[in-house]
Amino acid sequence: MKQTFGSRVFDVVNTALLVGMGLITVLPLLYVLAGSFATESEIATRPFFLWPERFTTGVYEYIFATPTFVRALITTIFVTAVGTLVQLALTLVMAYPLAKKGLPGRGVVLNMIIFAMVFSGGMIPTYLVVRDLGLLDSYWALILPLAINPFYLIIVKSFFQELPEALEEAARIDGASELMVFWRIVLPLSKPVIATFALFYAVAIWNDYMSPLLYITDNTKWTLQVLVRQLTSPEAANALATVDSANFFPVEGIKFAVVVIATVPILCFYPFLQKHFAKGVMIGSVKE
């Protein structure tokens, strides 16, 4: 089909705008990456750059030699790994019985879950429960209060409902208990869903700032996100600079590097995230 002049102009402008938008999205990240490998003076003097003039890994050497940082990184990796396992297990195990339409009492439990999706006790009462359980300053406080995401639970339940009954029936006739059916038949059939929600949960824990803010006061138990906050917020960074009287303290460079370190794992998983999350959004938008 022949394109009109106006149509061609539109295509050019439209493409340019969208490519520009894509660039605006990633340029800040690329600048921070480049800045984390630059010297303090280069960050201070050069307006914008995507490649440092003098390439140095000094900031990273400093960071990885700092116990506070290394501890925060290990803590975060550990909490994310354990948390994802716990949350995934609780979600899958609860979703399975809820997928059984004949189960007496199922409706009550479902309504209970749905009510908790629209109304909650809120920040302070939840904080008090966590405190009464003795979980303050415990890593479990970063995992248990968010252990089951009701939205994910409902989606997994719907997925289990769609699985072919025949396979499960066959196993039951062979004398397998519901537990065995779940473990041997249902879980192996659900690998893609398990992968998707493992990513969902892992990203949520890795990115969580509110839980450590609420429940962790001991600064030896800080997570990476708290450290990002502490190092990038203007007041805190200045305070650190005066406290730490070491010869070399790259105040600016450290902000750049800590943002990079908190971002890199997410970007490593990004190809999978993009694929699975997009699907998740669509499932989530479909009514049960």
Binding site: I114, R131, A147
Partner: protein
């Protein structure tokens, strides 16, 4: 209300159950489904402990809660804390801050994904389309602390690349964008747009992808150019999605991201930055006013539920499926 909330399959199953129910005694049912009930237990415990205990904890909004005396021992004070909230000067501030932010986000951040999705839909070169999509989805997965960190890096007075750039173009004195109250809202909107626009396009792109191509062919046969195809086919096709998303968005009007706002709040901008959630944290956790903070949270939560149900009702009235 519970019946309203139940999704259709549940309703069907409940009817089926009602017919069967009298024939299966409770003990027999438990014995027969023992493994399923056992599997239900850990999750049920989670909901009871971390969702329903806090709901019970809301009672402290009507007490002068003293942790030492507990939920039952603390003195009941009726609506005292709500009176403090409404009579004190803070409610006006919280309400207007929340509403102004909500309106700005609705007017600026909400339409962005629609516009970008429509632009992407017109892109003819698939490689470019997919590359742009891959780039603009990224910020969705980054934490608010990273977004705040980037903001501080780019807008700081001393070394901020963007701050310096604006300074060199506009001139005048240097502006501390991240500290000043005047700049709080623009920066929040900027963050929201940067983080959410790309991801927000997905739902609209899906709606656009499902448009019947025969409609375009028919329009072309009738001599419609690209603009008229857009106006008469594309736009009507995603109008229901836009309406539904607008309604769902309104249901969560009060749910501005705590993390986003808190990370940008400082002593200079608190007057414009405080919304119900951040205020609850401030007076509850940092100042220890548990009862008052809970009252604030309960007020916000109640209005939130009403908004969600109201908007859901509206969605159904307009012929949409609604959320429940």
């Amino acid at each position: 209300m519970a019946t309203d909330l139940a999704p259709p399959p549940t309703e069907a199953s409940r009817k089926a159950k009602k017919q069967k129910a009298p024939r299966v005694p409770l003990g027999a049912a438990i014995l027969r489904y023992r493994w399923l009930y056992l599997m239900l237990l850990p999750g049920l415990a989670y909901f009871v402990i971390f969702k329903y205990l806090p709901m019970y904890g809301l009672t402290i909004a009507f007490q002068d809660f003293v942790p030492f005396l507990g939920y039952s021992g603390s003195e009941w004070v009726g609506l005292k804390h709500f009176e403090t909230l409404f009579a004190g000067g803070d409610f006006g501030m919280l309400f207007s801050n929340t509403m102004i932010l909500a309106m700005l986000i609705f007017l600026i951040a909400f339409p962005m994904p629609i516009i970008v999705a429509l632009m992407l839909n017109e892109l003819r070169i698939n490689v470019v389309k997919r590359s742009v999509q891959s780039l603009i989805y990224i910020p969705h997965f980054l934490s608010w602390t990273i977004v705040a960190g980037l903001t501080y890096i780019l807008f700081s007075v001393d070394f901020g690349v963007i701050a310096n750039w604006i300074h060199s173009v506009v001139g005048g004195g240097k502006v501390d964008y991240v500290a000043q109250a005047d700049w709080f809202r623009p920066i929040i909107i900027l963050q929201t747009v940067w983080k959410g626009t790309g991801w927000g396009t997905i739902i609209y792109l899906a709606a656009l992808a499902s448009v019947n191509t025969e409609l375009y062919e028919a329009a072309r046969m009738d001599g419609a150019g690209r603009w008229r195809q857009f106006w008469h086919v594309t736009l009507p096709a995603i109008r229901p999605t836009i309406v539904l998303m607008a309604i769902l968005h309104s249901g969560h009007l009060l749910d501005q991201s705590f993390e986003q706002l808190w990370l940008l709040t400082n002593s200079l901008n608190r007057e414009v930055a405080n919304v119900f959630d951040t205020y609850t944290y401030y007076v509850g956790i940092t100042q220890g006013g548990y009862s008052y903070a809970t009252a604030v949270g309960l007020f916000k939560g109640t209005v939130g539920v009403l908004l969600i149900f109201g908007c859901n009702w509206l969605a159904k009235r307009l012929g949409q499926r609604g959320l429940f």
